[in-house]
């Protein structure tokens, strides 16, 4: 049963409640004074307590979307190492050079509407289409729903429903996508692309749009960017308020080889995750959508681990990404139980992934970076302050510091309007075919 399925949550809650009832019912039978009876009492209470805690954790996981499946939590799926990439089925032959398609749309749904009311209420239909377990509701399966096997191209761009309903021109489109890196062979599933309403409007029929690549924390789910951070709806609001140009949003899970935390690193003789985000994803998006190619049209935003990644990807690839927002990110090269050895045992290579070290020892890259944190409630605050002091030309550093706020979506949502607005000022605008009508006064 899926870790994040609604049925599993219900089962766990029922088990927890039943265990409490069971203890209440069994209570009178173990009233003796012997040691075994005492042990039995303690055992019953502890067992029931464990079930309650487990149910609580499953519900928390469902809410925050830390782990999408048992294999994401425990590992054990065919490890998506570089070796797996080379031998994936479908790579051997066939047309188009025998390569998997760089981007496959697994599902399409209406996106947010400007009124603020908005998204498909739950993720399940998207999750089902991605071959993930449905959550809460059984998968109904849209027109393009089909589970994707590894290497199976799935229903492609041509397989979409032929009509792009007029609603798209009002609310935009939210697409569930899979991407396979042509350079790295890494496949990312269950991510989202949001096309703004303008993408479907006649005035913009030939316009190319800027792109914002948004990254989750670790562990996380891309759906959290849509639902908890509410990035697309905030973007729609800001576009309506004239504070940012319409843009294409690519919302991705930062951990592409769960359960490992790769910190967006090209792991020596392992998954080349930095190249995946810096080369493969931009190429896949450029080949699939009407977007601009220049670095000034590509922005990054991410929270927590995604914040570190956003800063790192921009600093290492300033000719791909000109500006980045790091919401409550950190700037050192992590190494812990979830990351494993990311640097091939090389101190030098670990230094290169330490953004503070880079600023102290390498030329500063020509990028703009906005970092956010909170004076009270954020462990990242001292590190963020120290990092800001290291920034020097031609790099530009900006800060957005809350008085108080923890490491959670509540804080990031409060930072989002300003952060997106800041990003919007730095992105090249899409140029409509016909200029908006201007009233001339004599």
């Amino acid at each position: 049963m899926g870790l994040d399925s609604g049925w599993f949550e219900i089962l766990m809650i029922v088990a927890a409640v039943a265990s409490v009832a069971g203890v209440v019912a069994a209570w009178p039978r173990i009233t003796g004074r012997r040691a075994t009876h005492l042990a039995a009492r303690l055992g019953l209470i502890a067992g029931s307590q464990l079930l309650v805690i487990a149910a609580f954790l499953v519900c928390l996981n469902g809410y925050f979307g830390f782990y999408g499946s048992w294999t994401q939590l425990l590992g054990g799926a065919s490890p998506p190492t570089v070796a797996a990439a080379a031998t994936r089925p479908g790579a051997a032959g066939g047309g188009g050079g025998g390569r998997a398609r760089p981007l496959v749309i697994d599902m399409t749904e209406p996106g947010p509407v400007p009124g603020g009311q908005v998204l498909p209420a739950e993720a399940p239909r998207y999750a089902a289409a991605a071959g993930l377990r449905p959550r809460g509701v059984a998968a109904r399966g849209g027109p393009a729903a089909a589970p994707l096997g590894p290497g199976h191209p799935g229903p492609g761009l041509g397989g979409l429903s032929k009509r792009v309903s007029s609603s798209a021109a009002v609310v935009g489109r939210l697409l569930l996508v899979s991407m396979t890196g042509q350079r790295t062979g890494i496949t990312a599933r269950g991510d989202y692309v949001y096309l703004p309403p303008q993408y479907f409007q006649r005035a913009y029929a030939h316009a190319r749009f800027p792109v914002v690549l948004a990254l989750t924390g670790y562990p996380g789910a891309s759906w959290s960017i849509v639902k908890r951070l509410a990035l697309p709806s905030e973007a729609v609001r800001l576009v309506a308020a004239g504070r940012m140009p319409p843009a294409v949003y690519v919302m991705m899970n930062v951990s592409v080889v769960m359960p490992r935390d790769t910190e967006c690193t090209n792991i020596p003789a392992g998954p080349q995750v930095e190249s995946f985000f810096a080369q493969d994803v931009p190429r896949a998006i450029e080949q699939s959508f009407r977007v601009q190619h220049l670095a000034s049209a590509w922005g990054l935003i991410g929270y927590s681990t995604g914040g570190y990644c956003a800063a790192k990807l921009a600093m290492l690839n300033p000719y791909q990404f000109r500006s980045a927002v790091s919401l409550a990110g950190y700037y050192v090269a992590l190494r812990d139980n979830t990351t494993g050895n990311l640097y091939g045992g090389s101190f030098g290579y670990r230094h290169e992934n330490d953004l503070g070290w880079r600023l102290a020892h390498l030329p500063a890259p020509p990028v703009s970076l906005l970092v956010t944190s909170s004076r009270v409630g954020e462990k990242t605050y001292p590190g963020t302050r120290a990092f800001l002091r290291l920034i020097h030309p031609p790099m530009r550093g900006y800060s957005l510091i809350l008085a108080q706020g923890g490491h959670n979506f509540g804080s990031w949502q409060r930072e989002l309007p300003q952060s997106l607005g800041w990003l919007g000022q730095r992105l090249t605008r899409p140029v409509p075919d016909q200029p908006p009508q201007v009233l001339l006064h004599g």
Partner: protein, 367 residues
């Protein structure tokens, strides 16, 4: 009492202990069958469960600081901050290409100069390297036009007797252009091994950023300063014994920048000279290009193994060429004789640059 204060955790701990003691000591008295007893049992059990759960939550939250306060937890904090410009700004833009000298390239039998060869220094903004080199600009070169580029990596840049030397190779290119066998093309000559110790072209961990120089700085500099093409399909690498490994390594690693590579018929299990591995077995494995071809997807590259003798022979490069799968193509060419031994290689590069891999038709959403 604050959500993250130790007093709260302590209070919850004491509550848990008291409730547990009450349950264990009062077990007998609560054991009856009456509805009141049952309700009481359920109540103390639930209280215990709730306080243990709260304790766990508070301890985990204290260590990871998800929520910093009660207001944070219930989401009643409002208001954002202000974006402040903290640091940095523009720096004086240094000239990315410094020209130290110019000479005309002459082609025998052609009255006009076949272009010019400049002694230059390339300043890499990201790598911080200032690298001397030679730049060949073809006859009729003018700004406002985009040219294909061949980056020549060799230790023989200033050796006029080597076919890979700047003067002779530029001459060969000018000759091929003059007779119409090669489109006008820009040649950049750079020495192999940016540092004395290292002949590879990867970033030396924590040291010289050679890959950053070749794959980011050089394209940027040539695109902004001399009108080089911005498309990978128009960028080629050419290396001799000293720079062949570099050429292949860069092409495999940065196929979004380069699409053509020429190298001698070597085995490519490691860079000539010392490598950048810095004691890391994993980094050393990546230095073996055969390993890269086995473990990463094939890249959209045209690779030519060029050497003296039989055009079809691959020599030591046979193992590597056998690993090339579509869209990667591998070919072999024999060097010519006479004044321009590399002329056939230039012809082949010209053809490869002119025929970029067929692009897939744009998907519907991209139209």
């Amino acid at each position: 009492m604050g959500l993250t204060s130790p007093a709260l955790a302590l209070l919850l701990g004491v509550t848990v202990a008291v409730l547990l003691a009450v349950i264990l000591l009062g077990w007998g008295r609560l054991a009856g069958r009456g509805a009141r007893r049952v309700a009481l049992r359920a109540a103390v059990l639930c209280a215990l469960q709730a306080s243990v759960l709260s304790l766990v939550f508070v301890l985990v939250n204290n260590s990871l600081v998800f929520y910093s306060s009660w207001a944070d937890l219930v989401g009643s904090d409002t208001g954002g901050g202000t974006v402040r410009a903290a640091a940095g700004g523009n720096s004086g833009t240094a000239d990315p290409v410094v020209v130290l000298g110019t000479s005309a390239v002459t082609v025998p039998g052609v009255p006009r100069a076949g272009g010019r060869l400049e002694r230059v220094e390339i300043h890499g903004a990201l790598s911080g390297l200032a690298v001397p080199g030679r730049l060949f600009l073809p006859a009729g070169y003018g700004q406002g036009q985009r040219y294909p580029v061949i980056v020549v990596i060799t230790d023989q840049v200033s050796n006029d007797s080597s076919p890979y030397g700047a003067r002779r190779l530029a001459g060969a290119a000018a000759a091929q252009i003059a007779v119409g066998r090669l489109r006008p093309v820009i040649l950049l000559f750079v020495a192999a091994g940016l540092s004395q110790s290292d002949q590879g072209c990867l970033d030396q961990p924590g040291g010289i950023q050679a890959q950053t120089f070749f794959a980011q700085d050089v394209p940027r500099v040539l695109q902004t300063a001399v009108g080089a093409s911005t498309s990978a399909s128009q960028w080629a690498l050419l290396g001799d014994q000293s720079g062949g490994y570099c050429s292949l390594q860069l092409a495999l690693d940065d196929s979004t920048v380069f699409s053509v590579a020429v190298a001698p018929r070597g085995s490519y299990t490691g860079p000539p000279g010392s490598s950048t591995a810095g004691g890391s077995p994993q980094l050393r494995r990546q230095d073996n290009l055969m390993w890269q071809l086995r473990h990463l997807p094939p890249q959209p590259l045209s690779v030519l193994f060029a050497g003296p003798g039989d055009a079809a022979g691959l020599g030591q490069a046979a193992g590597l060429a056998a690993l090339a799968r579509p869209p990667m193509r591998a070919a072999s060419a024999g060097l010519g004789s006479g004044r321009w031994p590399l002329a056939p290689v230039l012809d082949w590069i010209g053809a490869a640059l002119a025929a970029p891999a067929a692009l897939a038709a744009a998907p519907r959403w991209a139209r």
